[in-house]
Amino acid sequence: MTEQSQAYQKLAQDHIPKPNYLKNTVNAFWVGGLICVVGQVFNNWFIAQGIAKSTAGAYTAITMIFIGALLTGLGVYDEIGKVGGAGSAIPITGFANTIVAAAMDFKAEGYVLGMAAQMYKIAGPVITYGITSAILAGLVQWLIWR
């Protein structure tokens, strides 16, 4: 960066408002917490129906993905995201939101090169690095406990 650019960026810093980290953290905590409580209620209910604990977890994930997708389709999840931030992005409902929002958006460009190709635009990196880190973690486990 040139001297002039550095001087300008320094001057600009005084005018740039900082995000309200405390408010955002508190909102992320209660919104994320609330989503988890809803998930826990479903989980307990599935177990109460006599479903095995491990299977109930999968049922809960499916239910939460459905809710996330539905709220995205109804145009509500982006409003939740505005308040919740990471609190609504991190849970599995947020993952559903990324895929459904992209699928809705790119439908205009067709079902193949639009919707199907672009629906993982935001979720794609999560899947890619999720799988990559799972493989690495598996390798480490295998090396230690084989």
Binding site: S5, Q9, N24, T72, N97, A102, M104, D105
Partner: protein, 336 residues
């Protein structure tokens, strides 16, 4: 030959082309703002009966152009040139809208400075004797801009406080040789200024140096100062960019005298969730063709300098971590 080029970067229009008609269309959010009563059409929704957001933006621009022509009473064929642009890749809104009119067309891309760029070029065409009537137009649409520059519309993300909200709408201005007041008297064509900004969520900071550069050059080229204008109107610097601009102007020895407004800040009501304010080609385009033009006609203001500010980025350049240069074009519009 007598030169019309003044100083470093400016031009004077000796025949002072007049602004014959304007037309403005905005979305519902803009319609709820403080300038709501000044716009010709306020849409009830942003999709405007179309299947895609891109088609909706094009329809808005077509309507804006048709209406300004109808209002003027001329046949479309009587217009010599159409100068228009928008924010979408390959300026598809302007290109496709122009297909509906039998008018020679120049497509422009100046990001959000487009309407100022179009007005300058239009006034040059008329003052040079190449045209009698020219339409300058620009459009932007919140949803098409979101899709192209940011995230899918229903994606639940949190914006930083520096982010801006793209204005939905279009503004069209019909310039005519020897036309009535208000008149386009002179202009300063901006340089592209890059002072190392990289944040696509903070375009005000990226554009403010270009705005200061063009305004200071304008005042030097014409030996004027800020007090010579009733209003100095920037396009879409937003709250962050405007605050930086005020400091830059002060440092350069041309402080504003309480006579600077920014369309991005003024267009939305303060309780709208738009963070640092509005942005987009339409901010200044509807700001002029709606609010400012009516004030000039009513004699409430007589001499204004409108400065269109553009952030020159693309989704690709941002992802490749390039800087975001800015550009600003200033046009003086006066009741003589």
């Amino acid at each position: 030959m007598e030169t019309k080029h003044i100083g470093a970067q400016s031009v004077a229009f000796h025949s002072t082309p007049g602004i014959l008609e304007t037309f403005s269309i905005v979305g519902p959010k803009e319609g709820r703002g403080p300038w709501g009563n000044d716009f010709d059409t306020i849409l009830p929704d942003e999709i405007y009966g179309e299947k895609t957001w891109e088609k909706a933006e094009r329809k808005i621009l077509i309507e804006g152009l048709s209406n300004v022509i109808t209002k003027s009473g001329f046949e479309p064929k009587a217009i010599d040139f159409l100068l228009a642009g928008d924010l979408l890749n390959q300026i598809i809104s302007a290109n496709f809208a122009a297909a509906s009119f039998p008018i020679s067309f120049f497509g422009l891309y100046g990001a959000c400075s487009t309407i100022a760029e179009a007005l300058i070029l239009g006034a040059m065409l008329i003052d040079g004797g190449y045209a009698q009537k020219v339409i300058a137009a620009a459009s932007s649409h919140n949803k098409t801009a979101e899709r192209q520059f940011r995230f899918p519309i229903e994606f639940g993300s949190q914006r930083p406080p520096t982010a801006q909200w793209t204005v939905t709408g279009c503004g069209t201005v019909l310039l005519a040789a020897g036309g009535p007041n208000p008149k386009v008297t002179c202009a300063t064509v901006g340089k592209v200024v890059d002072l190392g900004s990289k944040d696509p969520n903070d375009l005000g900071t990226a554009m403010a140096p270009a705005a200061a550069d063009t305004l200071v050059t304008h005042f030097r080229d014409f030996a004027k100062n800020t007090a010579d204008y009733d209003l100095i109107v920037t396009g879409d610097l937003g709250r962050v960019g405007s605050s930086i601009l005020a400091e830059l102007m002060e440092n350069a020895g041309f402080p504003f005298r309480g006579n600077h407004i920014d369309c991005g800040i003024s267009i939305f009501a303060t309780d709208e969730d738009v963070h640092a304010g509005g942005s987009g080609c339409a901010a200044l385009a509807v700001g002029y063709s709606g609010y400012l033009h009516k004030r000039l006609l009513a004699g409430k203001i007589n001499k204004i300098l409108i400065a269109g500010t553009g952030a020159l980025l693309s989704p690709l350049s941002t992802q490749q971590n390039e800087n975001i240069p800015g550009v600003c074009h200033a046009v003086a519009i006066e009741v003589i």
